[in-house]
């Protein structure tokens, strides 16, 4: 087999197999840390609905919306961020107070808005 043909086969393999897997690997190891919690907001839920952390943790949330504009608010921690669809926002804070806190949507997002809540549990 000619050298360039072998190289071509390796390149196609790289594009079809290694490229997608490399992207996933990069995302997990370079753009995020193992502690990053990816939170999806949707009409009308928080996914995950319950976030559990330990007291003293440096909490690292990556919050995005999958449909319309929402607001990510944890009033007890003074957090209130505007979340645009498909545009994740990093929210970092130190979980210094223990307890169970309400996460709520702070931008009106149609009829189910007032039911859209979640829980932050700091133990």
């Amino acid at each position: 087999m000619k050298k360039c043909e072998l190289l071509a086969i390796i390149l196609v393999f790289g594009v079809v197999i290694i490229l997608p897997n490399g992207v996933l690997f990069m995302d997990q190891n370079f753009f995020k840390t193992p502690d990053t919690i990816f939170v999806h907001l949707r009409q009308y839920e928080f996914d995950p609905a319950t976030i559990e952390v330990n007291q003293g943790d440096n909490v690292e949330l990556l919050v995005t919306s999958d449909d319309v504009v929402h607001g990510f608010a944890i009033p007890a921690y003074g957090i209130n961020e505007l979340i645009y669809p498909g545009h994740p926002v990093w929210i970092r804070f130190v979980a210094d107070t223990t307890g169970t806190f309400v996460m709520e949507c702070s931008i009106y997002c149609d009829v189910g808005h007032y039911d859209m809540t979640g829980q932050l549990i700091v133990s």
Binding site: C4, L11, D67, V68, V69, P85, P88, I107, Y108, D110
Partner: protein, 641 residues
């Protein structure tokens, strides 16, 4: 019917046709806004935004008015961007009664679209209304210009109707293979493979981002790349300038071709697969028409859904791969690919052509036909064309094999002004034009208008139909699209062609032949109508490319920040429409240019078919009238209220 019983002579019919046409044109000017007698007034509008409409969807004010807009929302966060004024207000309601207010002086006359400026769901990019600031003169002027182009051309042709028909002068062409570097690049299999590899990598990225990326379409690489960037590049640059240039670099059939050839970069003598021949009965583009029309009824979902886009791309890779095990060569591209059909049709007006340098050389070279049999340098034409007989671009996929195989170095890749493929006699040679191509032209012309008014118009009921809000709305959309594209528009065109046949006074030429031939005059009209559509898409939504390069999957990446924000962009990469003041003028120029080229093409086609100037003029007038009225409808949509 006896000829002497006819109440009108053909010249009288033509005159009648022109009078009716002129009355309709002037009637269109009734839409022209009148100058208001009253002075500047304060006007207040409560605009209620909802998914996916503004209420009201039309706002009319007078030049100089103080306009106040109170934007409220019926459901979620919305914004309002006003073209031309570059006003952008955003409403993030904390309760349903919140509103945001903007006041401005209407100091620009004309018709401006206002759009939602905050992603509010799938159909956010298409949510819009029209603001008319009277008196705007763009639309009336464009109508007069269209009428002028039609009447001026008819006048010129009419004046010369008794002159003899002389042979057309040969068109100046530049053979790109004259340049040694280009020739070297195009002869190299490795270079071709490298380009394919690059486009394949982009497609792998598209499929991956569609499958695992954010479901928000306009923040997902797949949707932005395919429906804005690829589509815009295809219609605005690749087809008009390069003809089937896209087919040269398209990665979709590459896997199938590599599998069949058993090789990526070399000529392999032993192909894999059953290598069956495509059935003769299907040697036309009806299947492409069917495939394209099947896509159109899901287009309202595919354009906004990253997942649907990825699945479509997967289908378009798997299908040619599967076919390559059964059929020989590029049957997918030639007979099935839904985009290949219109690329081929519009490539006839493109500026790049592959031809033989000298047919006499081919005719003398009878020992072998390397371009169809293949030789050690390359494969026989995978598009089932015979280069020696190529006289139009329709089915030459620019795969470059014949450049590699021709032992006589007789292949040319010409850069030309374009359009003459439409005028050559399609009834000569091996491959005849048939109704499949004519209907392709009708389908594309119809959709250039239907997609425009659905996705870039102020009518939310059309958007509800396209996005399959309910089964009934979807069925209505299917009936609307298929009915218009297959029956109504072709029916009207056939009607005008029947008038053309009678006006010409020629009895030998069948109506079918006339329809097939005159349908080619719709190619420049349709192509430029699509360019006008695509320019709007790219100018308005093109800035979405920046965030999807920074974060292709919506996973919180920021590639520009990694390299220190070289373009000075902020973290938000906001949506920003470009040149909204000029877009309608650019579109007007494109549409009028398309009309001019189409009028010219129809007369040239008439000359070729009738072989008589007087008949050609009379026969072309109804066609010109049809095309001008169609252009006026498009002008109304893009520049009028």
């Amino acid at each position: 019917m006896k000829t002497n019983a006819r109440p009108f002579s053909s010249a009288q019919k033509v005159a009648l046709c022109i009078v009716v046409f002129s009355v309709i044109s002037i009637g269109a000017l009734a839409f022209a806004p009148a100058v208001s007698a009253q002075g500047p007034t304060n006007r207040e509008f409560v605009v209620v935004a909802s998914q996916y409409a503004f209420d009201p969807n039309f706002i009319n004010v007078n030049f100089g008015d103080n306009v106040t807009i109170r934007l409220r929302s019926a459901d979620v966060a919305h914004g309002m961007y006003i073209d031309g004024y570059d006003i952008n207000i955003k409403l993030f309601p904390e309760s349903p009664s919140d509103e945001v207010v903007v006041t401005f002086v209407a100091n620009r006359a004309g018709v401006f679209r206002y759009r939602c400026s905050i992603t509010c769901g799938g159909y956010h990019p298409f949510m819009m209304g029209k603001l008319t600031v009277e008196p705007g003169y763009e639309f009336p002027i464009s109508i007069v210009l269209a009428w002028g182009i039609a009447m001026g051309s008819i006048g010129v042709y009419w004046k010369g109707r008794f002159e003899p028909i002389e042979e057309p002068e040969p068109v100046e062409k530049i053979d790109l293979l004259k340049f040694k570097l280009i020739k070297k690049l195009l002869k190299s299999r490795n270079i071709q493979f490298t380009i394919l590899l690059a486009t394949l990598a982009i497609f792998v990225f598209v499929i991956m981002s569609g499958l695992v990326g954010t479901p928000v379409g306009n923040r997902n690489f797949s949707v932005v790349m395919v429906w804005i960037i690829w589509w815009g590049a295809l219609m605005i640059f690749m087809v008009p300038i390069g003809g089937r240039l896209w087919c040269m670099v398209c990665p979709l059939p590459a896997m199938g071709e590599w599998a069949q050839r058993g090789s990526l970069t070399t000529k392999n003598e032993k192909p894999h697969g059953l290598m069956k021949k495509w059935p003769k009965k299907l040697d036309n583009i009806w299947l492409q028409n069917a495939g394209f029309l099947s896509m159109t009824i899901f287009i309202g979902i595919m354009m906004i859904s990253s997942l649907a886009t990825a699945l479509l791309m997967l289908l378009l890779i798997v299908l040619p791969l599967a076919l390559s095990f059964v059929f020989k060569d590029r049957v997918f591209c030639r007979y099935l690919c839904p985009v290949s059909g219109f690329i081929g049709l519009y490539a006839n007006a493109g500026m790049l052509e592959l031809r033989v340098k000298d047919r006499a050389v081919c005719k003398k070279h009878i020992e072998s036909k390397d371009c169809i049999q293949g030789n050690e340098n390359g494969y026989g034409c995978p598009w089932f064309e015979f280069p020696q007989n190529l006289d139009r671009n329709a089915y030459c996929g620019l795969c470059l094999e014949c450049i590699k195989t021709c032992p006589k170095d007789n292949i040319a890749l010409n850069f030309r002004l374009g359009g003459e493929d439409l005028e050559i006699d399609p009834w000569a040679g091996r491959k005849k034009r048939k109704l499949d191509e004519a209907w392709k032209a009708f389908i594309m012309l119809t959709l250039a208008f239907l997609y425009g008014i659905t996705f870039m118009g102020p009518y939310s009921f059309l958007k509800d139909m396209a996005r399959i809000a309910s089964l009934n709305e979807w069925l209505s959309f299917i009936i609307l699209v298929w009915g218009m594209a297959l029956i109504v528009v072709p029916g009207i065109f056939v009607g005008f062609t029947a008038i053309a046949k009678r006006a010409s006074g020629n009895k030998e030429i069948t109506l079918k032949k006339l329809v097939i031939n005159y349908a080619n005059a719709l190619v420049p009209l349709g192509l430029l109508a699509w360019i006008a559509f695509s320019v709007a898409i790219v100018m308005i939504q093109g800035s979405l490319l920046i965030p999807v390069i920074a974060d292709p999957f919506g996973w919180g990446w920021d590639i520009f920040a990694l390299v220190g924000n070289p373009f000075g962009l902020g973290i938000d990469y906001p949506w920003q429409p470009y040149f909204t003041t000029f877009v309608p003028f650019i579109q007007m120029a494109i549409l009028l240019g398309g009309l001019f080229l189409a009028v010219r093409a129809s007369y040239q086609i008439g000359l070729r078919v009738f072989k008589d100037r007087a008949q050609a003029v009379k026969g072309s007038i109804p066609i010109i009238v049809f095309m001008t009225l169609f252009t006026m409808v498009l002008l109304w949509h893009w520049t009028g209220g």
